[in-house]
Symmetry: C2
Subunit: 715 residues, 2 copies
């Protein structure tokens, strides 16, 4: 089959991209001019001593970069950047702590544009404040092939972008994850008698769309429960969504809802021009330490556009030449397309020196910390290096056939608890199924308000937010390894978050138990059937279904090693044997021979997870009848597909067309390995409510059926 | 491939199940004894004149049926029924209007157990009130193969169960859909001068789990916005979920949140014994006509169990013999396992006569209505018969090759607007993408508070609730045909609701536009790649991807015809030709030849949607080079797989192994049709942000690549 793989921009591009053209000539002057006026590096909200006219000019510069870029690309969303430009000015010029020349500086404030369609807002800010990733050329390449300025913010493309947003609601949940990571690391490492080495805020701008999505309510309920005081969300309350005014579908009292969720809520009534109001709100937000803050900022979408502001027209389409001209006139913007006045650069580019100073202050604090707490510093450095500890994988136990039969969810529990002591970055938990998913780390307590240093996270029944929060934890880039768990069927509740893991290179480990009709009596609403196929089809997601203890160990080894690729591990409710031949090494190849005949096999039986044993049992029977049988364990399709052609041929020789696959799930996709002549033993309909052994019998997922199918394909 | 299809219990089983054993002998007496004391058929909350002791006995009967059934099956959730039994008593014996002997009586109150794991609660109520579907034998068969009492409530198994719940949060959204359907039909048909013919409440019990799920916030925000006054939700506030006390993850103020969502909120502080409090709350709820009501009922999970109440132990595991004995003693329940005292039956079975009377009253009202409004009655009867109008499909236009090239989303708009006048049951809308999905019915206004008779529904950015609400509309069984729309990628937000459509036989039409990288600049967060595969793998879901106008018409024809099977229609953003040979009839077969060679073809090119044209263009080129080419359009795999072996062989003869599939999506699954030797032209990685034509070029989804692949497979 022919497939196309787009080369990904490496995530380190910011550091490597020195060759990119910059708006360089005047930066030096800008640094010297503006720095004195800038907010101090400790990022307290202080009104800088620049004139209001210049502030407005800076704000309009954001607006017109967005307008011009969207016009040029003939595609995009100018309305949000135009409305949110004042927030951008205050956050980037007065509030946030970041270093444009070191986008991944550990202690930076994190910013998340949950309303990701307004990406030009973020690119404008990155450009204006001097990030190498967004020179003016890249602004002009907005939404074009291979640009660093794609349609929605993508962390794997653009240094300075923390997470990938666009699907509404994901970003605010990522922000909760980022804030969780900060709270956790701060509690683990900061000491009362030295300056904190973990100390940053997480800011997020979200819009009406994010607010309507259920996922945001889930994550914000948790953020309120956890009391994440350093999470500050600015709600762009512009009352316009794609269908028109939010009156038609969204009339709830958002502020009251957030109060109910345990948030501190502030309203800035005029987000269009009340800069002092924004400043004061952020200062108040910072003053409340035990609750996250929602700042409801009422704005006009497309502020400044005389004919399109406050309408859907300005949401997702270019202003066009006429309205752009009218807007220029209306806002008194006398500069041509893509021109940023020098005094504006002078203001914003002060961020470069400010960032450098802030990072140096932090480095100084680290030195003091290191001197006083050398052991803790070593731990901190090792963790935040994002390198795995040496020999960590040796902690994973292996099993012999005579070892006790267990469910792979039990083996998973063993692995999590084997890894917890050797992987200090392992954090995670379940969506209210810890006793079933078996995901608690016994060496740790619960991450809760007052115990942020603990590593077991209680997500409640909030699968979608759980996934997106874990993406935030992973993309905090501090060495944390997030895992999360629920019944496999409920991946249906969190699928977009899982896709965002795969897309945004967040190495989340999805621990998904009760992986088939083997779940039994709970019935078809709880029995995954098509889910293995659905994740095998998802790019960059490794879908694992281990058989027994060794393969569960192997699945965790792969999952932990892959820090830029998520892994979903499907685990059984029911017991299964530790089959001879299964191995950690085998899992790494995706599929491998666990039992073979002498000479050319008559038939290949391949299976996964709890059904692999049916293949070996069938092999016993067939061999007694004189057949030569190869049994292939197939825990991970993606890894097998990535092996060499030679290896693949050695496992599944083209010449052997008699093939049977066995898996208590959909046949969908297996044709790729069994061909048009093969047979699949599985289930292509929904399951039913009954004890698991009855279901296997009724659906014909049994050893005699495997034998029968093998004979049929050999005939 | 071998697959297993479980025979489904027909949904009419209630009427056919006369042969099922009943607890019959004493029903007659029960009717006579209790009816006089029962609530009037108009279902006002009236305190019946039975002693409090007998009330408690009735309530305990519910508890012990649940305890005994869960014990017997060694699996299930006794805690919820034990805590909610008082609500069950009040709702079924005093409040709700229903006819056990006609479970599908149109004007019944709808009840939804959103906390579906407590299914024994519902089965206990159905048994006690005399539904034929749940005789005592079925209670004893709880969670067993082929029983009518599966682990979670399944509408397609058990008459009396309205919707399928279990995945938390789905039920409350279904309830919103049921209430929407009632409000809509009431506004359309009721007349001020005759008794209403559409007049029922929707009741729902939901728990902490449902409350935590984001989907419930989405749907309840809409219910508040719409002011669905006849929706009454009872929140079983027992503060226990699987991980333990809700303190660990769920400390928000739910009542305040619901007030913020526009609900009327009441708190019953002691839901365990305060029967009058429950009665009063429901009466208050009914008195508020312009808002849905949430009754927060604080209960003890497992009420009555001396050692397990108020703990997680009683949530999802049998009480076991010892604790059951202790509970019997504690509650003074002197009856053996599964025995229901006659006086309890006497009370509950009064529902049979009451229901009969209520239905007769309604029939009387219908007669009056019919006499006064014969035209409207005819419309009402035609609609609620759930039969499609004669010749409706003739409204679907067809297209010739010379007709204008359009995007299939535009053709979809044409179809929706062609069908709107001939299908009076068509209702639906988009999750805030109406101008992009093109889903507005021009003959109708918006369904809003004050305009419930309108048919365009504005869901806001709430995909998951949208799907689940549509399931509720479909399962109202009143002839409404719900459709809903978003970008195809956002099926990831609503996947479980879509699966529930497929499982629960809700014929929802999912109108999913922007179906590939053809979406262009919005980039990979918005470009579906693996989604076609993921839905083709889902049982009972028809996944359509039409090419041009005729196939879009064909897709709608299939979708509308299938009232017990959902259809997802993937539609393009971009234009495509109306290819010769494409037809409505072809779509019904799933795959069909649109162009053929004379004699045995050298190669088969198969494509879908916007890529079918690449197949025909490649065929032009290959034919010029003397090759014989067959082009197969493949809009629906499920339908093709259901054709006869002869037909399938006629389209894809086994002898022709040179096959190429073309689709701007994952190769996953295509091996089933192209075999191990075929090639797929598509994309197995995420897309990127750029104009669509550039993306097609970069990913190699072009006519020259199809030609190249065809030559390779012919070689």
């Amino acid at each position: 089959m022919q497939t196309m793989l787009k080369q990904r921009v490496p995530t380190t591009v910011g550091k490597q991209a020195q060759a990119l053209p910059r708006v360089a000539p005047k930066i030096g002057r800008a640094r010297n001019t503006v720095v004195a006026q800038a907010a101090p590096a400790t990022a307290k909200v202080a009104k800088p001593a620049i004139s209001r006219d210049l502030v407005d000019k800076c704000i309009n510069a954001i607006r017109f970069l967005a307008i011009d870029a969207v016009n040029k690309s003939k595609s995009g969303h100018p309305g949000m950047p135009m409305g949110c430009a004042p927030m951008g000015y205050v956050l980037w010029n007065e509030v946030m702590k970041y270093n444009p020349k070191d986008p991944y500086w550990f202690n930076r404030d994190r910013f998340v544009l949950s309303a990701g369609h307004g990406s030009m807002f973020q690119y404008a800010m990155l450009h204006l404040t001097g990030y190498d990733s967004v020179p003016l050329e890249q602004v002009k390449q907005f939404r074009q092939w291979d640009s660093l300025t794609p349609g929605h913010p993508e962390n794997f493309v653009t240094p300075g972008v923390e997470v990938t947003t666009g699907p509404l609601g994901q970003g605010i949940c990522n922000a909760v994850g980022l804030a969780l990571a900060e709270a956790h690391l701060a509690a683990r490492f900061n000491k009362p008698d030295v300056k904190p080495i973990v100390d940053h805020y997480t800011y997020c701008i979200l819009g009406d769309g994010c607010m309507m999505e259920g996922i945001s309510n889930e994550a914000c309920s948790l953020a309120g429960h956890w009391g994440l005081g350093k999470l500050i969300a600015l709600y762009d309350d512009n009352k316009i969504s794609i269908d028109g005014h939010t009156d038609i579908s969204f009339t709830e009292d958002v502020a009251k809802r957030y109060e109910a969720l345990g948030w501190h809520v502030i309203h800035v009534i005029n987000g269009n021009t009340d800069i002092d109001g924004l400043r004061a709100a952020i200062a108040q937000a910072k003053a409340v330490k035990d609750k996250p803050t929602l700042i409801k900022v009422s704005t006009l979408i497309g502020y400044g556009s005389p004919n399109k502001a406050d309408t859907h027209d300005v949401h997702g389409a270019p202003l066009g030449p006429e309205e752009t001209a009218a807007t220029r006139k209306n806002l008194g913007w006398e500069y041509p397309e893509f021109e940023v006045p020098q005094d504006v650069y002078d203001v914003f580019r002060a961020a470069v020196k400010r960032g450098d100073e802030a990072e140096n202050e932090w480095k100084q604090a680290c030195e003091e910390y290191k001197a006083k707490y050398p052991k803790e510093w070593a731990e901190f450095e090792a963790l935040t290096s994002c390198n795995l500890p040496a020999n960590w994988a040796e902690a994973l136990p292996t099993f012999k056939p005579e070892d006790k039969q267990l469910a792979t969810r039990q083996h998973s529990q063993t692995m999590i608890n084997a890894l917890a002591p050797v992987l200090p970055g392992l954090v995670g938990g379940s969506a209210d199924l810890a006793p079933s998913n078996l995901t608690l780390m016994k060496i740790s307590g619960d991450f809760q308000k007052g115990s942020y240093a603990e590593r077991n996270v209680r997500f409640g029944v909030r699968e979608h937010a759980m996934g997106a929060i874990c993406n935030g934890i992973a993309l905090h880039r501090s060495g944390l390894i997030p895992y999360c768990a629920t019944f496999y069927i409920f991946t249906d509740y969190m699928r977009n978050a899982m896709r965002m893991s795969a897309l945004s290179e967040a190495g989340v480990i999805y621990v998904m138990t009760h992986d088939s009709i083997g779940l039994g009596e709970d019935g078809p609403t709880h029995q995954p059937v098509e889910h293995l196929a659905s994740f095998r089809a998802m790019p960059n997601m490794m879908m694992m279904r281990p058989a027994g203890g060794n393969e569960t160990a192997g699945a965790y080894k792969v999952a932990v090693e892959n820090r830029k690729r998520p892994t979903t591990i499907a685990l059984s409710r029911q017991n299964m044997p530790n089959l001879p031949g299964t191995s950690v090494e085998g899992v790494a190849k995706g599929a491998y021979i666990i039992r073979d005949s002498e000479g050319h096999p008559d038939v290949i039986l391949m299976g996964t997870g709890s059904e692999l044993q049916l293949c070996t049992e069938a092999a016993d029977i067939l061999e007694k009848e004189g057949k030569k049988v190869r049994v292939v364990s197939f825990p991970c399709w993606e890894l097998f597909d990535e092996q060499s052609a030679e290896y693949k041929e050695s496992v599944l020789p083209k010449a052997i067309e008699a093939r049977v696959s066995v898996e208590a799930g959909s046949s969908f996709g297996w044709a790729k390995y069994i061909g048009l002549k093969g047979k699949h033993i599985g289930i292509d309909d929904f399951g039913a409510s009954a004890p698991a052994p009855i279901l296997y019998e009724k659906y014909g997922i049994t050893t005699p059926k495997v034998v029968e199918a093998a004979k049929a394909v050999m005939a």
